[in-house]
């Protein structure tokens, strides 16, 4: 017994607070929904929130931790939605469709959608090994657009072409529960991954790629893993999205959608998973609510507001000239002073400094300013080899 309570005391509850919060939301709303006490609008909202959180958290792995800018996250989602949706549509009519109220088909669709998106993540990750920063950003953007065009021009029998793919809708009473469970799974995988030696390696690559290489970190492997994991979860989000709609069309997954996900990640604080969760929830919630309040062209005031908040927050967090101001008037610091908890690194426990949470400013200068280490000697390595051959 005492061993058990000791064990409980050792658990760092702070690390699990997000699981707890989402778990409680899932249980409370799940009970209400099954009891029939929730209006459809709330159910749809919860579905959307779950999808946004999965997207934002998975993108934050690439942007926040790996330090690469990806503008094609909606493209991965598109692949997941279309392929998972297609599998679901095909299987729903077969005998499998009846097993467990369609849960089995949903699981198969998730696996297929996630796997296909993962393969795309691998393909997009390959250029990431040669390209950096701005160049990689445009490649991911291009990938998203290519995926969109391909699905748009598919034949009516395969993926529905311009009219979109007809997908089975899951019972709305349960879909959001599945969505929130997927959020928990996403959190479990990503947090466990990031808070391990592998996550440390990824953060090291972001902080200083050359030093990471010199430490023997396999940069190729970890960059690919980062891209693949993010893509797989975007694919999951896509499958859930396809289950939340009767008809999906690739125009939904455009570049603006990727930007919206990026905004969620940035506003939540890059590399801050809990921040991403909160900002994804809030932005989705506001999107839906403001759409009802702001009619006509005034609806755009919402975008105007987001843009302004985005600019102000980024400038506030990053402007070199505001550094002193930030340090002086940081509410966190002020609160700390009020509570009088003096920060003494020597006395704090090992995990006191949260290495997985970094300020928005990532010292990306070096990472971004080097395109690639190339030999000035010639454009190709054959040239190099030739000289060596003549030794």
């Amino acid at each position: 017994m005492s061993k058990f309570t000791d064990g409980l005391k050792k658990v760092k509850w702070k690390n699990y607070i997000n699981y707890a919060a989402i778990g409680i939301v899932t249980i409370v709303f799940g009970i209400l929904s099954i009891g029939g006490g929730l209006p459809s609008s709330t159910l749809y909202l919860l579905e959307k929130i779950a999808i946004s959180i999965i997207l934002a958290v998975s993108l934050s792995l690439v942007v926040g931790f790996l330090g690469e800018l990806s503008l094609g996250h909606a493209g991965f989602m598109c692949v997941g939605a279309y392929l998972g949706g297609k599998v679901a549509a095909m299987l729903a009519k077969t005998a499998l469709g009846g097993v467990g109220e369609g849960i089995l088909v949903l699981i198969i669709a998730l696996v297929v959608g996630g796997a296909c998106a993962g393969v795309c993540g691998f393909i997009v990750g390959l250029p990431a090994l040669r390209l950096k920063g701005d160049y990689l950003a445009i490649v991911t953007l291009a990938f998203g657009e290519i995926v969109k065009v391909i699905f748009q021009n598919s034949s009516a029998e395969s993926f529905g072409g311009p009219i979109g793919l007809t997908t089975p809708r899951f019972d709305k009473k349960y879909l959001f529960i599945i969505g929130l469970l997927m959020v928990l799974a996403t959190l479990a995988v990503l947090q466990n991954f990031i808070k391990s030696k592998h996550g440390r390696a990824i953060t090291a690559i972001r902080d200083n790629e050359i030093a990471a290489r010199a430490m023997g970190i396999n940069v190729t492997k970890y960059k690919l893993i980062g891209f693949i994991i993010a893509a797989v979860f975007a694919g999951f989000a896509g499958v859930i999205f396809s289950y939340s709609q009767n008809n999906i069309s690739s125009a939904t997954f455009d570049y603006n959608y990727s930007i919206e996900i990026l905004v969620m990640v940035v506003l939540g604080g890059m590399g801050n998973i809990n921040g991403s969760i909160i900002s994804a929830t809030l932005i989705t919630f506001l999107n839906v609510q403001l759409q009802n309040v702001l009619k006509g062209d005034l609806a755009v005031l919402k975008d105007l507001l987001y843009a302004l908040i985005l600019i102000v927050i980024v400038i506030y967090n990053n402007a070199p000239k505001l550094k002193n101001f930030r340090d002086k008037y940081n509410i966190g610091n002020i609160l700390q002073k009020l509570i009088k908890r003096k920060h003494d690194p020597a006395r704090t426990r090992d995990d006191a400094a949260r290495w997985d949470v970094v300020p928005t400013k990532i010292s990306m200068d070096e990472v971004l300013s080097t395109d690639i280490i190339v030999d000035d000697t010639g454009d190709n390595s054959a040239d190099v080899g030739e000289r060596r051959g003549t030794k």
Partner: protein
């Protein structure tokens, strides 16, 4: 900073969720209605807004007229009507939320969606709750798939087929070109049917598709410059761009031939159709520049009520006007048959009543869309599949310059 911010956000969020809860409760959301609520989902912002706005305005016009007849409970039904519109921005992902808002707001009967893509989402959701809808302008073939859905406009396949018939009869021996939007269900749907029904004697037709938000049509103009007849199953904005970009390059005696999407092309602000040397015509159920008949009466009423430059009328609006009246007439028939229609009738109950009327062969609605003769209104009836039966007319918007 971040912690406090997130705390505030969390509080706001909880507050919002509680608010969302407040609306939950009864299953018949229309219980407290004092008027019959007609729901519409359509674009009020974005590129397609012009259609949504026309639908809203025309529907409101019809409701106003009906309410005038039904004033003080003296009308045949003793009911008042009102319109509730949700801005879906022509984006199907907005539809679930939009539909839920309408439904939970007490919608009893609906005009469905203005455009097809959101309509594909809408038809399933409304089927689940059994809400009757009669869409003015969602032309997709699959829209009236379920028993609760009806169309006032021609379905895409009908338009494509009718156009092909017209070509077979009138344009033999001419070189045919098609300008269409490859990633648009309306355009592609009509084009596919058109191609299938067109006589083989025309030989190969010149296809000039475009996609996405393309606005530069140099290449398409170049492809189609030698054609005698150019079929344009698209909406009028890209059509007008094509015409003005190709004004000098396309054959001066060529004929532009479109479908109902071209209606309104002559009333676009900034686009002067007289500068186009070619003939512009389309096959439609309504001519928004009609100079006589019931259409003219409606157009005058519309233009008196709304700003004709900023919110121009088009066939979408005319169809919406007819939709509201058709629903009203159907309710009158039902009442005459002894059905009770209280103001707070549940949507599914109303749906039962209306489908029965619409499916009966004797129900013929007289409207302003379709072929009218003199001052007589057109005859419009529905098949039990939900497709509309009425006659289409070819309208020549502008003759070719001599």
């Amino acid at each position: 900073m971040k912690k406090v911010l997130s705390l505030i956000l969390a509080v706001v969020l909880c507050f919002g969720i509680v608010c969302a809860f407040a609306s939950c409760g009864t299953t018949n959301y229309a219980e407290n209605n004092t008027k019959i609520k007609i729901g519409i989902s359509g674009p009020l912002t974005g590129g397609a807004a012009i259609y949504g706005i026309a639908v809203r305005n025309a529907a409101q016009l019809a409701v106003k007229e009906i309410n005038e007849i039904e004033k003080d409970g003296n009308g045949p039904l003793g009911l008042q009507f009102e319109i509730d519109m949700y801005d879906d921005k022509h984006d199907p992902t907005n539809v679930p939320t939009g539909y839920a808002n309408l439904f939970e707001g007490g919608m009893q009967v609906s005009l469905g969606t203005v455009t097809t893509k959101p309509g594909l989402e809408y038809k399933v959701l409304s089927k689940d709750d059994n809400v009757f809808f009669l869409t003015p302008s969602a032309t997709g073939d699959g829209i009236p798939e379920f028993s609760n859905g009806y169309q006032m406009c021609f379905a895409d396949s009908n338009q494509g087929g009718a156009s092909a018939d017209y070509f077979n009869a009138n344009y033999q021996g001419k070189k045919i070109g098609v300008f269409y939007k490859a990633d648009d269900e309306y355009s592609k749907g009509i084009f596919d049917q058109f191609k299938a029904k067109l006589n083989a004697s025309f030989g190969t037709i010149v296809e000039a598709p475009f996609t996405g938000d393309a606005t530069v049509f140099d290449s398409q103009v170049n492809l189609l410059k030698d054609c005698d007849v150019i079929f344009m199953p698209i909406y009028y904005t890209p059509a007008s761009q094509f015409m003005s970009q190709g004004a000098t390059t396309v054959k001066a005696n060529a004929i532009y031939y479109g479908c109902d999407g071209l209606d309104g092309i002559d009333s676009i602000e900034g686009f002067d159709i007289t500068t186009i040397p070619q003939e512009v015509s389309y096959l439609s159920h309504f001519n928004s520049n009609a100079t006589e008949g019931p259409a003219k009466v409606f157009i005058d009423k519309y233009n008196a009520a709304y700003d004709e430059v900023k919110e121009p009328l088009n066939q979408f609006g005319a169809a919406a006007y007819d939709c509201v009246w058709a629903i009203y007439e159907a309710m009158k028939v039902a009442k005459a048959n002894g059905k009770e229609i209280p103001a707070n009738i549940a949507p599914s109950a109303l749906c039962e009543i209306l489908t029965e009327v619409f499916n009966s062969e004797s129900f013929v609605f007289h409207g302003i869309t379709g072929k009218t003769e003199g001052d007589n209104k057109s005859d419009i009836s529905w098949e039990s599949t939900g497709y509309v039966n009425k006659e289409a007319i070819k309208y020549v918007v502008k003759e070719a310059n001599a």
